[in-house]
Amino acid sequence: MSDELDPGVLAESFAEMLGAEWPREKAVAWSQAPALFAEPLWEQMAALGWTALTVPEAYGGLGLGMEAAAALHAALGAAAAPVPMLGTTLAAALLGAAGSEAQRTKLLPGLADGSSRAAVAQPGDMPIRLDGGSVGATIPDMIGAPAATLLFLRGERAGRPCWLALPADASGVSIAATALTDATRTLGTVTLDGVTVDEDALILAEDPAALDDHLLRVAAIAIAADAIGGGEAALAGTIDYMKVREQFGRVIGSFQALKHRVADHQAALVAARGLVEHAAGLPDDAPHALLDALSAKQHVTRTVAEIARDCIQLHGGVGFTAEFFPHIYLKRGKLNEVLFGTRTILLDRIADMLEAA
């Protein structure tokens, strides 16, 4: 990342704004009546330059790297903010790595100023055959698609993987939203029916497998960061509750059996945060950059989901109600576990990398 911004300082400013603009009450209210994304919050983020974070300076961005992006995603995870930032981070990475000059000039400024909202296909998605004529395809379960203005889809031309960038409102494109238990993100099935794909919509990587790995690394770090932020917020909120809730004439936070569980959770989160920060801080070309990102993603998302579960239990009855916050983190945490590779998929890949080392 740029030498000019300390990620700690960045993280503080992210937390400060979100604390004011997306306090827990809003997160709880949103979970009961969600929409596609929190538009006013998104606009404020854009106004503060957050959507421009990893976009290169030449295209209206701030040109920061994954450490800054991780700090932002951690803050958004802590707030359980319903904004499609993952799409922006991934699209900026995709265009930065493989976009033509024309594509960057056309697409990056809109991502930077928040006027575009991107959804980016996941590794397992079936590529769209692009061998001539108009295109028809169905891409199920695309994260962020219902809230997106810009879709980045996997394609294949003449047997060679590529990407295509399509406006969500292009002729022949339709998006059917699928409700998620995590109300802070959206999922949709994208259907292309007789879509004309111009040559300039194709993003052709020199090394498509390396591009996939790059995007997977960025996604893994962003999601792991989101998870750790959520886990820390859920646990901190639970500890606060344990300090005031009384049963049997004592605050429940004085019961040793609960204290020991909380202590283990806290230690696990400290360890997990180290993994995220380390993975985010590695240069793209570091030997273990992908390994450490995937390792962090599988470990942190699992750890946080487990802790979020116990936050429900530690709250007792109120933890079972939609009016308290723990369920929001549990649901978001469960989705984080699955996005861009479930644990089993990632562990198989990690084992491959460890064997090859």
């Binding site: 009961q32 379960d141 699928t178 409700a179 998620l180 238990t181 995590d182 109300a183 999922l187 009384e246 049963q247 049997f248 004439g249 019961f255 040793q256 059996a257 609960l258 579960r309 429900i312 239990q313 007792g316 009855g317 933890g319 079972f320 109600t321 939609a322 009016e323 369920h327 549990l330 649901k331 469960k334 989705l335 576990e337 699955v338 479930t342 644990r343 089993t344």
Partner: protein, 400 residues
């Protein structure tokens, strides 16, 4: 469909009894009931549940575990078990909304109620469709129930009740409430001075506010009580005896509720494996995890059956510890199993669907079942309380 069924006449011949229920269920439970119940609005839910209760009533199985003295069929315990087994096996809808009506109310009234109370209220369940709820917990008295603060002030011929209750299942549908309130605020211990009432939910001063759960449903509610007048004849037992009576209310479901839940899960477990035959059951690790859950599920089923057999032999000599162990194991098991399914099924398991009433903890909507499993580890004595009970009362470790 035109065949008539006479299930109760088969008592004395277990296989025939079982077969008759099975045939009746096959003829009566619509194959698509889950879809239909899922589509029903909350306001219309009661009607559809009552319809199913009426179907059961036609064959004498509205209250299968009730003795004849209460107006039930009075069938032996072994046959009650068969009923619950077959209902689970056929995936017949559960009557969640009637849980208090079917279990807690009769147990309480039969042991502690006056003849007038029995006469007046049991019939509303055996012949009508009265829904009862329970007004025990309060916002400040959950695990620590004895510290409840809702007050009942005696006046001439009635009590005036003020306070707030919470976690009251089906309260928004309820006709009556089993209410605990403090009649004497100056008892030597906090367990003292609590009394037990029947409260008509139509009495002025009662406000019921549903509580939205983390699954999106609202199965329970808060009850706000503002100068609610309860006639003195609605006191159950003596004034100040409420705590003792409540203990028997809470312990009298005799394992059948959890038995039903576990049997339903067993059915679902089998289906889960079959349906994943070409899916996650092809993954060596997930397949082993699934196989490992089999032992845990079996161990629970065995514990519950053991408890039921002991209860049938002699309720007074049945193991007092088994119910605690069962409760302590069942909730976390359900949590781990439903969490396994989330992992095994990936994104599909995280999609939202409206919950399906009547499916208990085996709706097979993965995230819903996972979330709902916390009902078992939190409600009715949290697992933390269960661990205190095991370590102190059973194992004899000293209080901290």
């Amino acid at each position: 469909m035109s065949r008539t069924f006479d299930i109760l006449s088969k008592v004395g011949d277990e296989p025939a009894f079982r077969q008759e229920i099975r045939d009746w269920l096959a003829a009566t439970v619509p194959a698509d009931w889950r879809r239909r119940w899922q589509a029903v609005r909350e306001s219309e839910l009661k009607a559809i549940v009552v319809d199913w209760l009426e179907e059961r009533r036609k064959v004498g199985l509205a209250t299968p575990h009730w003795p004849r003295e209460w107006g039930g069929p009075g069938i032996p315990f072994a046959y009650q078990i068969i009923v619950y087994e077959e209902f689970a096996r056929a995936d017949a809808p559960e009557l969640d909304m009637f849980t208090i009506s079917l279990f807690h109310t009769p147990a309480t009234l039969f042991e502690h109620g006056t003849q007038a109370q029995k006469d007046r209220y049991l019939g509303g369940i055996t012949q009508g469709a009265d829904i009862w709820c329970q007004g025990f917990s309060e916002p400040g008295a959950g695990s620590d129930l004895a510290s409840l603060r809702t007050s009942a002030r005696a006046e001439s011929g009635h009590y005036v009740v003020n306070g707030q209750k919470i976690w009251s299942s089906a309260a928004m549908h309820a006709d009556y409430c089993l209410l605990l309130a403090r009649t004497d605020p100056n008892g030597p211990r906090k367990h003292d001075g609590i009394s037990y009432f029947i409260m008509d939910m139509k009495t002025p001063g009662i406000e019921v506010r549903p509580i939205r759960q983390i699954t999106g449903e609202a199965e329970f509610a808060e009850i706000f009580l503002d100068d609610v007048k309860i006639p003195a004849e609605n006191l159950i037992g003596a004034e100040g005896d409420g705590w003792n009576i409540a203990q028997s209310t809470l312990s009298t479901e005799r394992g059948l509720l959890i038995f039903g839940a576990v049997e339903r899960l067993a059915r679902s477990f089998e289906l889960d494996g079959k349906e994943a035959k070409d899916g996650w059951m092809r993954d060596v690790q997930l397949r082993r995890e699934y196989a490992a859950f089999h032992a845990e599920l079996q161990s629970l089923r065995l514990m519950i059956r053991k408890l039921l057999i002991e209860l049938e032999a002699n309720p007074d000599k049945a193991s007092p510890t088994l119910p605690t162990y069962i409760k302590l194991i069942w909730g976390p098991f359900l949590q781990r199993y439903t969490e396994f399914l989330l992992r095994a099924e990936g994104i599909d398991a995280l999609k939202w669907q409206p919950s399906i009433p009547g499916t208990g903890h085996s709706s097979r909507l993965r995230m819903n079942d996972f979330l709902k499993s916390y009902g078992w580890t939190i409600a009715g004595g949290s697992n933390e309380i269960m661990r205190n009970i095991v370590s102190e009362r059973i194992l004899g470790l000293p209080r901290g």
